[in-house]
C-alpha cells in the first residue's frame, strides 16, 4: 500500500536554529514530491521535486529528493517564529493520486 511517513512528528526549536524535516515514501508510479506549509488554514505550496539530487531553494528554505532511497528532506536555516507551522509532505502518482504524510509540527520559540 502506498504510504508517506514524516519525521519527526513534532519539533521545538529556538529562533536562529537550523532544522531538517524528513519524508520517506513508498508510492507506486511516482511522479513528484511536494512540500506544503500549513498554518491556520490552507496548506500553501513550497516546493515540487521530480528529480534526484537537484536542490530547490527559496530564501531560508531548501529541499532535495533522493529517488533511489525514496526520501526527501526540507531544511530551514536561521528559523524565525513565523516558520512555526505544520509542514506537509505529499507524493503524487501518475494516476493523479496524491498521498500526504501526517505532517511535522514545528514550533519556533523566541
Amino acid at each position: 500500500e502506498d504510504k508517506v511517513v514524516q519525521s519527526p512528528l513534532s519539533l521545538v526549536v529556538h529562533e536562529g536554529d537550523t532544522v531538517t524535516l524528513n519524508c520517506s515514501y513508498e508510492v507506486t508510479n511516482f511522479r513528484s514530491l511536494l512540500w506544503y506549509k500549513q498554518e491556520k488554514k490552507a496548506p500553501t505550496f513550497l516546493f515540487m521535486l521530480t528529480s534526484s539530487g537537484i536542490e530547490k531553494k527559496s530564501g531560508r528554505l531548501s529541499s532535495i529528493l533522493d529517488k533511489k532511497e525514496l526520501f526527501s528532506i526540507l531544511n530551514i536555516t536561521a528559523t524565525q517564529t513565523g516558520d512555526s507551522a505544520i509542514y506537509l509532505c505529499a507524493v503524487e502518482a501518475w494516476n493523479n493520486d496524491m498521498r500526504f504524510g501526517a505532517g511535522t509540527r514545528l514550533t519556533v520559540k523566541p
Binding site: 488554514k41 496548506p43 505550496f45 521530480t50 493523479n96 496524491m98 498521498r99 500526504f100 505532517g103
Partner: protein, 113 residues
C-alpha cells in the same frame, strides 16, 4: 493566493442528514480535488475531477459523491452524514499538465452530531 472559495466555512449538522459542500474557483484550472484532514492522518483524497463531468475516486471515497457540471464548481455530497465524517474538508485545484502543484482553499469545518 489561488482563487478558491469553499462554502460553507463551518457547518454543524445531525447524523443521517444530507450535506453538500461547494468549491468554487476563478482560475479556470482543469483539475479539482476534495480532501479531508483528520488528526494523525494528514490529508486524504476523497474524489477528484479532471474536467466537466469527469470524476474519479480517491483513497477514502466511500460515503461521498461529487459532481462537476461547470469548470468552476466542484460539489462534494454526503448523502447521509455519519459522525465519522466529522472533519475539515479542503478543496484543491491544479492546472493540466505535469509538474503543476495543487493549491488549496481555506477549508470547511464540518461537525456531525
Amino acid at each position: 493566493d489561488a482563487g478558491i472559495t469553499q462554502s460553507p466555512r463551518h457547518k454543524v449538522t445531525e447524523t443521517g442528514t444530507p450535506v453538500t459542500l461547494r468549491c468554487h474557483q476563478t482560475e479556470n484550472h482543469r483539475y479539482m480535488y476534495w480532501y479531508r484532514q483528520d488528526p494523525g492522518h494528514g490529508l486524504r483524497l476523497i474524489h477528484y475531477s479532471y474536467g466537466v463531468k469527469d470524476t474519479d475516486k480517491g483513497e477514502v471515497s466511500d460515503g461521498y459523491s461529487v459532481s462537476r457540471s461547470k469548470t468552476e464548481d466542484f460539489l462534494l455530497t454526503l448523502e447521509s452524514a455519519t459522525s465519522s465524517q466529522t472533519s475539515v474538508y479542503f478543496c484543491a485545484i491544479s492546472e493540466a499538465g505535469s509538474n503543476q502543484p495543487q493549491h488549496f482553499g481555506d477549508g470547511t469545518r464540518l461537525s456531525i452530531l
